[in-house]
């Protein structure tokens, strides 16, 4: 259990640094920014207590916010994803699945994993950019940000998942 926490803490730091040092500065076509740290929440295993998922996500979101001067934006949206994640994961795994099941391409299968990850990432980008731009100043720009970032984030997640499977 302790080893588990340290491992998660390590990944936490990695996701945070990768986001603030590299990915934050990527703006493909001026709209698509990979928000890879949502992958951290997607990977929470089944047995993690619900308050645990919430706190991990909130702190990660808050730190990302501090680095990118968007106070509360990532924290609010990531906490929302973390609240939904256990329930949403429940739809795809049977009751008698192992307790420490970690949602991944390997454990869920391609189709189920897509059903699991795509809506969550899309929802995350939707909430994130809605909060960030708030006034829907340019609705087209907003839409491009949501879709573009979701696609880039999902591409990265699938790259890692495929690499892990081998």
């Amino acid at each position: 259990m302790t080893a588990d926490i340290f491992k998660r803490l390590g990944w936490f730091v990695v996701f945070l640094l990768v986001q603030v040092v590299m990915l934050r500065h990527v703006h493909l076509f001026g709209v698509a920014t990979p928000l890879l740290y949502v992958y951290f929440v997607l990977q929470f295993p089944r047995h993690l207590p619900k308050w645990g998922t919430l706190l991990w996500a909130f702190v990660l979101g808050l730190l990302v916010d501090i680095f990118s001067n968007t106070p509360g934006v990532a924290a609010a949206s990531l906490t929302l994803i973390a609240a939904l994640q256990p329930y949403y994961l429940g739809l795809f795994v049977s009751q008698d699945a192992p307790e420490d099941l970690r949602p991944a391409l390997k454990t869920l299968g391609t189709l189920k994993y897509s059903y699991y990850s795509v809506p969550l990432v899309l929802l995350y980008c939707l909430v994130f950019f809605s909060l960030e731009q708030f006034s829907f100043f340019h609705i087209f720009h907003w839409l491009m940000c949501v879709v573009g970032s979701a696609v880039v984030t999902l591409l990265l997640i699938y790259t890692f998942e495929l690499a892990k499977r081998k």
């Binding site: 640094l17 308050w51 808050l62 916010d65 001067n69 106070p71 509360g72 609010a76």
Partner: protein, 289 residues
């Protein structure tokens, strides 16, 4: 009672969820009114240090371009200086003493060189972070410029880092500027999307100028001395109410490649502010009487 307790325990994570969301939203909506929120911005020490490492690595790869720009700029300025000096001595005929006076005038501007450690372009309200803070004499509300022109205004300061509101900030950046050589003044605004263009609004209808004219700071604000380049007029539009002109200008500062900046600490500004404040106070008194 027992049931209630059990119910609360079973759903405790929803309460936690509510608390965390409220906390985030408070941060989101209160940020701008918290002058002390420096800890929640990239001006805090940890975030600043990490960004500094990153920018030191990144600056290595842009040194060549920066050098070339600076050399060009230097050459340009030296030519200009020589030309002006010739004009000046021609007019005054007393080269030495007058020149000294001119130099004195320059001394009143105290500039603090700084490096940009974090920068962004693609949001509606961009912010940038520089590696100088209160320990170096930076205070909120000072002007920031680079070799090519205006950058923005300092906003939050910690001991060693400062968050700057650049021109590229939809909601918070309003800098007073004027058309060089004509003096008509307006307000510099930015509306997102394109990091190389901004707008100058409220230029009066009777103003005469042409495309390609330079826009510079006018020294009316308490932040910038006059004469810092802002950009060149590219398009002229009518304002929505038809009462003034709206100029689309090409910014002379390349915000996408910003590394070395200076924070301007103008001593005369403090005096000017004091006089302004005194004038305002006396006006108030008059009204009351």
């Amino acid at each position: 009672m027992n049931n209630l307790w059990e119910f609360l325990q079973r759903h405790s994570h929803w309460f936690l969820f509510g608390v965390l969301e409220v906390l985030s939203l408070v941060l989101l909506f209160q940020y701008n009114s918290f002058q002390n929120s420096v800890w929640f911005s990239s001006a805090n020490t940890v975030a600043g240090t990490i960004y500094q490492w990153r920018s030191e690595v990144a600056s290595f790869f842009t040194l060549k371009q920066a050098n070339r720009d600076l050399t060009l700029r230097n050459y340009h300025l030296e030519r200009q200086l020589a030309h002006l000096r010739k004009l000046y001595t021609g007019l005054t005929r007393k080269p030495t003493s007058e020149e000294e006076k001119g130099m004195e005038f320059l001394h009143q501007y105290h500039v603090i060189p700084a490096k940009v450690v974090a920068n962004e372009l693609n949001r509606a309200d961009n912010l940038l972070t520089i590696d100088r803070g209160e320990a170096d004499g930076v205070k909120p509300g000072m002007g920031v410029a680079c070799g090519n022109g205006i950058v923005g205004v300092t906003y939050l300061t910690s001991k060693h880092y400062t968050v700057v509101i650049p021109v590229l900030n939809c909601h918070s950046s309003r800098i007073s500027c004027a058309i060089r050589g004509h003096g008509y003044f307006g307000v510099l605004r930015w509306y997102g999307e394109d990091a190389s263009h901004a707008y100058v609004e409220d230029i009066p209808r009777h103003a005469r100028f042409k495309r390609g004219d330079w826009v510079e700071t006018n020294g009316f604000s308490s932040i910038f001395p006059e004469g810092i380049a802002v950009g060149r007029v590219e398009q002229v539009y009518n304002s929505r109410d038809g009462l003034s002109y709206r100029l689309k200008i090409r910014l002379s500062t390349d915000f996408g490649n910003l590394r070395d900046v200076v924070v301007i600490n103008d001593k005369s500004i403090v005096d000017r502010m004091r006089v302004m404040q005194a004038a305002k106070d006396s006006l108030k008194l008059n009204v009351r009487e």
